[in-house]
């Protein structure tokens, strides 16, 4: 076997989580800037913005489901809370965008607490059922209270005005990417903090967690609130991107797509949220180009996207049950063992370093 030298020391990221995550985020921001400003067309740039806000929603759900073990079919509804909050603020007030987004996050997080409290008593299919009702019912309120939410017509959002001669769509995309990266750093640090350990402990063994002095119910509600807050920001960005917020924007299928995208990307990983976001945004695009090429018409087009998504989901679950990111990790650790470790090496040693 050829001997490949290990990467030099300076190549390794620092161990301190905050520094580590900030470096990764800054590098990612630079990459996104190049990608959106110089490489992609305006149309594709908008798609990158969509990937970014899907990644926010998926990342939040990944914390809730992957780390804390609670399933939610209701994240589309929580996105609606964020979207309507942001839109109402834009219609009735003149706050600045950051404040509006923060309030949208707060409103969704409060909704998350309200959902999370009964959720602490439910498990598995029962929790899925409860959150499913949320996904079906909550967006309908938009029609019910037409005077506030303006029903099917919806509320018009005001896109942020860019400085100088920057293209408004590009500007919004940057804001979305920046928001996604800030959320990723916050979530990554949260997972490395005591809250991350508490989330995982509760998921793994509630009795053992409570015997360690953890308030199990409170921990679950916190996870729900964090996750819902992310969904709220994603919803607010969705509202900005589409320019209008109406009850039709948040169908049940949105909640299911988010859950499926999170599982596809890899539950419990934040990088996986980006894979899931890419899948959610690009599969419909591919579907439409394939159906155009095959002459399927618009009806076939609508189904093809779902079919592709379903097929990929099945395939990924067969090949890498822990999602795309989980699959990459396995390949990575396999390559690491093969390339960098002497044959018949110390097994316990590789177990230790493999635990990163």
């Amino acid at each position: 076997m050829p001997k490949i030298p290990r990467p030099p020391k300076w190549f390794h990221l620092p161990r301190q989580p905050l520094v580590r995550h900030l470096i990764l985020a800054i590098v990612a921001a630079g990459g996104f800037y190049l990608l959106t400003n110089d490489i992609l067309s305006t149309y594709n740039t908008v798609l990158v913005g969509e990937i970014a806000f899907y990644a926010i929603a998926l990342g939040g759900l990944s914390i809730l489901t992957g780390a804390n073990g609670q399933i939610s079919f209701g994240h589309g509804a929580l996105m609606a809370v964020g979207a309507y909050t942001a839109a109402l603020l834009m219609v009735h007030t003149h706050f600045n965008l950051v404040l509006e987004l923060l309030i949208a996050i707060g409103a969704a997080a409060i909704a998350g607490v309200i959902v999370g409290i009964p959720a602490t008593r439910l498990k598995g299919p029962y929790l899925a059922g409860m959150t499913l009702i949320l996904a079906v019912g909550l967006p309908l309120l938009g029609n019910q209270y037409g005077s506030v939410f303006n029903g099917d017509q919806g509320l018009v959002t005001t896109p942020p005005s860019p400085p100088g001669s920057v293209n408004p769509e590009l500007w919004l995309t940057w804001i979305e990417i920046l928001g996604a990266l800030v959320i990723m750093v916050l979530l990554a640090n949260l997972m490395k903090s005591r809250f991350g350990r508490m989330f995982r402990a509760v998921r793994d063994d509630e009795v053992a967690a409570s015997l360690a002095g953890i308030h199990v119910a409170r921990t679950k509600v916190i996870a729900f609130a964090v996750s819902a807050g992310c969904a709220g920001l994603a919803g607010a960005f969705l509202a900005l991107s589409s320019g209008v917020v109406s009850s039709g924007e948040f169908p049940l299928s949105l909640s299911i797509e988010i859950l499926a995208g999170m599982v596809l990307g890899g539950a419990g990983t934040l990088v996986g949220a980006w894979w899931g976001g890419i899948a959610l945004v690009f599969f419909p695009q591919w579907a439409s180009s394939i159906s155009k090429a095959a002459g399927l018409g618009t009806g076939g087009n609508a189904y093809l996207g779902t079919i592709i998504f379903g097929a990929v989901l099945v395939l990924v679950m067969m090949l890498a049950p822990s999602g795309i990111q989980g699959g990459f990790r396995r390949v990575g650790s396999f390559a690491d063992r093969r390339l960098f470790r002497p044959r018949g090496g110390d097994v316990t040693k590789s177990l230790q370093t493999g635990s990163e």
């Binding site: 005591r194 793994d204 009795v207 015997l211 360690a212 953890i214 230790q352 635990s355």
Partner: protein, 235 residues
């Protein structure tokens, strides 16, 4: 001092405990013995708040624990090591210990207690970055006890710590427990099937049968009672 007074626990129609009373002294090991289904585990679970008794009170240092939630009991200074280890497999050894030390609040206090318990169980120190799922049975038991100690408890409740361990590991564990009860003036309550080794380190003992206390005395006099030993303890 941990006092149990007239405690009854019922699971549906099944009476698990009936009017059980006992007192565990500070700095001593009290062992609870009995056959399968005698109610030993239920008694520990009642003490730590995992089940709520229908009748009776449990007091620790004069404060009533009955009716409190599990994590309030933990904060009152009682650490329960459940049967089947009770470690979080998805976390590393160190993360498990950090979890255990959570209630101490300050970071420096947490660091100090983790260093202390790792000193107590050297195999854990070498495995501190390994996931708990990769530990052997003995190491897991050590981790479960270490995690409990990381909350700096005043009382330690142990449910069959020798279960599935090699005799030599059990012996070492018992020695550590005896040392802990003496030096750290811990109140230890030890539930055991292995009556012989439990009686050898305990100061007092309670024998349960079908949910009732059938004998309570010093460990040495119980061990000397051949009749009782044959009847309830099987040696």
């Amino acid at each position: 001092m941990l006092e149990v007074e007239g405690v009854s626990v019922q699971y549906g129609a099944v009476r698990a405990l009936e009017d059980v009373s006992l007192t565990a002294e500070v700095g001593a090991i009290t062992t609870i013995l009995g056959a399968n289904g005698a109610g030993k585990t239920t008694l520990l679970r009642a003490m730590s708040g995992l089940v709520h008794p229908r009748r009776g009170t449990i007091r620790f240092d004069g404060r009533v624990l009955t009716g409190r939630s599990v994590e309030q009991v933990v904060r009152a200074g009682i650490a329960h090591v459940p049967e089947g280890r009770g470690v979080i497999e998805e976390l590393t050894v160190e993360e498990n210990l950090r979890l255990g030390s959570l209630i101490l609040g300050s970071r420096s206090a947490q660091k100090a207690v983790i260093a202390e318990v790792l000193e107590l169980f050297p195999p854990l120190r070498d495995a501190r970055n390994r996931y708990a799922s990769s530990l052997s049975g003995g190491e897991r038991q050590m981790l479960a006890i270490a995690r409990a100690l990381a909350s700096r408890p005043k009382a330690l409740l142990l449910d069959e710590p020798s279960l599935g361990l090699a005799p030599i590991v059990t012996a070492r564990l018992m020695a550590v427990l005896r040392e802990l009860s003496r030096s750290a003036s811990l109140t230890i309550i030890l539930v055991e099937q292995n009556a012989r080794s439990a009686l050898s380190i305990a100061q007092s003992a309670v024998v349960l049968n079908l949910g009732r206390v059938v004998a309570a005395d010093t460990a040495s006099s119980l061990a000397a009672d051949t009749n009782l030993r044959h009847h309830y303890l099987g040696f």
